[in-house]
Symmetry: C4
Subunit: 125 residues, 4 copies
């Protein structure tokens, strides 16, 4: 039996899906989640924008003893997705403790660029 | 009704506005703020330099349930701005809890580079 | 006599060994550990995948008053290694307090990209 | 009168001075310190290596209400410096609370790469 590790609430203020790519690698962002426990982690994501109400109710699952590197371009709630080229922020609420890291690969100009941050946890376990 | 998340005080030691750009993307920095609560966040930024007194009194607002990705080149207090090409640090004080991330895109040489950090919070909520 | 600093448990959700390199620098990841105390740090790493059971029992040592920047491509348990080109996460458990940072150099496309995060600590000392 | 902010002890496990540069920007690392208080911050840095005893006794000062972005290639203790091309770690002890961020610019291959992390604090104020 494995131990659940981390926090149930994580925040990423700097989200942005680069609208352009070049070369062999596609621009993308990943929300990388580790669920080290045995129970599945039910995630609920809320996306905040600069000029409109939040997009709530995005649901994802990470099975027990698994990681998932979730591409943000695939996230949807009621058919609505995060538009490319728009600044946003995202919160991740989980049913069990998890750890969340956010990474972006930008290949807008040829030759890629990378950035990554540990998301900000609200409580620690 | 939404819940305010994060801290009222954040610190970014490594600020630098790259003076040059190349290609289609302009070098810039963003101070990315999420205000997940309902009240507007009144921000007061103070900029610290290596060789002169701080530039205080820079004021910005982030409405409730919104994010803002604030370009540092546009920050001003009494007509004074942050010069490009100069190392600085910045503190962000907020009237309500927020979460702050700092990111820089540098396209001084062709082909961009990215970096990002979560700002350092002084208290957690 | 030196003081042990940091935490005994660290988590890195976004692991990925880039399968391709170009130019003079090889794509790689490093798990960078500082053991500031006098006792050797016995590390046990567990690697989590998206689609199979974890790879446990990877053992490494960091001598006292030393750092090690451990390449992930060299990690092995029972002859099994972390495959390149596959998303994974990794936990680091240490016999004494240490501090862990994770960095990746990606030279898939010519001209390298870098990213780095402080790993997420479970307890602080 | 200004308030001292942050921690008196910070740790950076992944230090590395890139030995090569290309283009108009020189490869370098910076240890970026904000001293928001009125008292000068007397810093003592200790550098840890993979294969030899630590280099202790590196001393730097950050005046009150100032930031300094300290290039690691210029750090010295008893005439000894950090060699380029060698993995190291560094701890920063300060006489007053400060906040420390670490950034690296690598232009080994033409077109630069950037990475940055907030250093790991041992205590918070």
């Amino acid at each position: 039996m494995s131990q659940a590790l981390g926090s149930r609430s994580w925040i990423i203020p700097d989200g942005y899906i680069p609208p352009l790519s070049s070369g062999s690698l596609e621009s993308h962002e990943s929300i990388c989640v580790l669920n080290a426990g045995d129970e599945p982690a039910e995630l609920e994501l809320t996306v905040y924008f600069e000029d409109r109400e939040p997009l709530a109710g995005i649901v994802e699952t990470v099975p027990g003893r698994r990681t998932r590197h979730i591409r943000t371009a695939g996230l949807a709630s009621g058919g609505e997705r995060i538009p490319a080229g728009v600044p946003y922020a995202v919160t991740v609420a989980s049913s069990v403790p998890v750890v969340v890291q956010y990474s972006r690969l930008d290949s807008t100009q040829p030759e890629l660029a990378l950035m990554s941050v540990m998301a900000h946890p609200l409580e620690r376990s």
